[in-house]
């Protein structure tokens, strides 16, 4: 088992949004998180990534096996596409960025400053970062925002390649990625109960 989340409860801005979420991912598995806006998909992913402490429950994963990609891509617009990727490769202790560039068709853009890219191209660069990290479990938050149909297919191909090489992916998304083998987890049933006593006086009555 590469990632196991047990009975997790998360809060956003101090308000509990999800409770009792359990999930498990093995090698070669992908799990798609679905749910309406505000249900807590992003918060859940941030808790699993360790950016935020959960209210309850715990995460089991091999050390240094998770990589998180959020709404923002972490791209420096003054650096070129290559320099951006090379930086993350160095941080994660890998060296090969050519495969990531090929997978997301960034070759013709490699020497352009990232600030000159379109929104979709930036997103592709952000996703290419996942490949250079060499991490086994991808935690992706809305990875397909501003991607066109072709780029979504490119992304699905990258996820498939990652799964085939024994990786795993946890993806929060609203659209159909065309990953037929992925399981789907609907978060709506895990919505946290609203706080019972909302007013201070209520506690004493």
């Amino acid at each position: 088992m590469m990632l196991r989340v047990t009975d997790m409860g998360v809060a956003r801005g101090g308000v509990p949004v999800l409770e009792g979420v359990s999930l498990a991912l093995g090698p070669g598995e992908a799990l798609i998180l679905r749910g309406p806006n505000g249900i807590g998909k992003t918060t859940l992913l941030r808790c699993i990534a360790g950016l935020q402490p959960p209210l309850a429950g715990h995460v089991e994963a091999a050390p240094e096996s998770l990589v998180y990609a959020g709404h923002a891509d972490g791209i420096k617009s003054a650096l070129t596409v290559e320099e951006n990727l090379a930086f993350w490769a160095q941080v994660f202790g890998t060296t090969d960025i050519s495969q990531a560039i090929d997978t997301f068709a960034l070759g013709p853009l490699a020497t352009r400053p990232a600030g000159a890219l379109s929104a979709g191209q930036k997103r592709r660069l952000g996703l290419a970062r996942l490949l250079v990290t060499g991490r086994a479990v991808w935690l992706l938050d809305e990875p397909t925002v501003s991607l066109d149909v072709e780029a979504v297919a490119m992304f699905a191909g990258a996820v498939r390649g990652h799964l085939a090489s024994g990786g795993a992916a946890l993806i929060a998304t609203h659209i159909d990625l065309g990953l037929s083998e992925a399981r789907i987890l609907d978060l709506a049933p895990y919505r946290a109960a609203p706080l019972a006593a909302d007013d201070f006086d209520g506690v004493f009555l």
Binding site: A72, W88, G93
Partner: protein, 218 residues
């Protein structure tokens, strides 16, 4: 770590990085003070160490909010926090990069600008030494302030208010070294205290900065 340092240095010197900002501010302050004080070279040489130190400190303050704010805006900070670098290492490298791009140029420019303020001859060496010893503390303390205010929009004002009182001891002892040096007095005590402040902040504050950064990223 080295990758982060080279990236920060590269970003600082590229377009929009704000590399020359502190240096330009320092230059402006030091050039304008003689106009304000008037043509009294004796008075000017008396206040020169203090003015130079104050100018360097304010120039340092000017670029503090950039340390984490830009990385927070574009999401790099979240990604760095999940990268295999310890948070203490990240904040130390950020402080070092800030010192190399802001503090070190100020140290090197100070003797040149000292000429404009009629700084007495023996003072140049001590000014250089006191700034070289003191500015790392300014960067480390500033990094702590930047970590405290990272999530806030327009946190620059709050950052200045938080950091300025923490800068006071460094300013007092740094300027004292430069003043005593310029007047040919013994500098041992303020120099030792300045070195102590710098060593203490470098040893302790990265842990505090890392802790508040973790809280702010939630």
């Amino acid at each position: 770590m080295i990758a982060l340092l080279t990236r920060d240095m590269r970003l600082a010197v590229r377009a929009g990085g704000g590399f020359g900002l502190g240096l330009a501010f320092f230059l402006i302050v030091v050039v304008l003070v003689p106009f304000g004080v008037g043509p009294q070279s004796a008075l000017l040489s008396k206040i020169a160490p203090g003015i130079l130190w104050l100018g360097a400190l304010l120039a340092c303050l000017l670029s503090l909010d950039r340390i984490f704010a830009l990385d927070h805006e574009d999401g790099s900070l979240d990604l760095l926090a999940t990268a295999p670098l310890p948070m203490e290492g990240i904040v130390s490298v950020k402080a070092l990069a800030h010192w190399l791009t802001t503090g070190l140029p100020l140290v090197l420019a100070a003797p040149v600008l000292g000429v404009l303020l009629n700084l007495p001859g023996p003072g140049f060496g001590w000014l250089l030494l006191s700034l070289a010893l003191g500015t790392p503390a300014l960067s480390v303390i500033g990094t702590f302030g930047a970590a405290l205010t990272v999530g806030l929009k327009r946190g620059g004002l709050l950052l200045s208010l938080l950091v300025l009182p923490l800068y006071v001891p460094t300013l007092i002892f740094g300027a004292e070294v430069a003043r005593r040096g310029a007047e040919g007095l013994d500098v041992t005590t303020p120099l030792a205290l300045l070195a102590g402040i710098t060593c203490g902040t470098i040893a302790l504050l990265p842990f505090a900065s890392a802790a508040v950064l973790r809280v702010n990223l939630r």
